[in-house]
Amino acid sequence: MSFESQKGNAPPLTHRQLLAYIEKKLNEGIDSQSVILDITAKGFDPAKAQNVVKEVLNSQRKKYWKIFGISGGFGLFGLIVTLATLESESGYIWYGAILCGLIGVIYSLTKLVKLR
């Protein structure tokens, strides 16, 4: 439980608390430069703040690209199966896969656009 330097009377943020705080701010749509300024104003070393924010930003991007890939694949699978079986007697529209995939793609893309 390593404690990070911080100004003021509030207890110092631990490294994990700092990561959670940055993650929250980035997911709220606040750009990384503003987050760096915010935590630098709290007394953190600017170079360290930049590294930590970059680290969180990359991990968040990775997370949302993963959601994009999996849900996109799922939606595409639903679409392909639907198109391939549409002409046959047993064919039906795979609403579930297409809808879930589409929601996942829209959600992940919205988040990726917000992460700056």
Binding site: M1, A10, Y21, C100, I103
Partner: protein, 145 residues
Amino acid sequence: MDFERRPFRLQAFSTANTVVKAKFDTSEIINLFHETLNSQLEKKGLAQHKGESGAQIIIRGNVVSVDEGNRWLRYFLTFLGGKTVFEVEGEVLVNGVPAGELHSVKKSGIGVFGGNSQGLLKNNARAAAKDITGQVIQVLRKSQP
């Protein structure tokens, strides 16, 4: 290994810098975490210290984050998004000396129609308390001569 009712003191985990992403009061969840942790430690053979004088074993820490996630996303993207998160970290002091660190993060993404956030967070808090108990026992075993 029997801990022969060794006395421990559980200091309430600090919520001063907790990152909370929830629309409801999370104190109930944090209380549940403390209650479960206390009862689990007693089950493992330790005894809660009630006197004024210092206990041999002190457990203290911070609640890192409490996130209610998003029920709508849990419903559509079960394993991918909208998970509830409960994260704690801490340390064990034996005779005033840090003996080991504690950390647990529990996430839930499955529930009926996405699952009630409060209910899932309660499950996370219970699971985190059990996880922390296991870590405390491991630390104490290592620190015993």
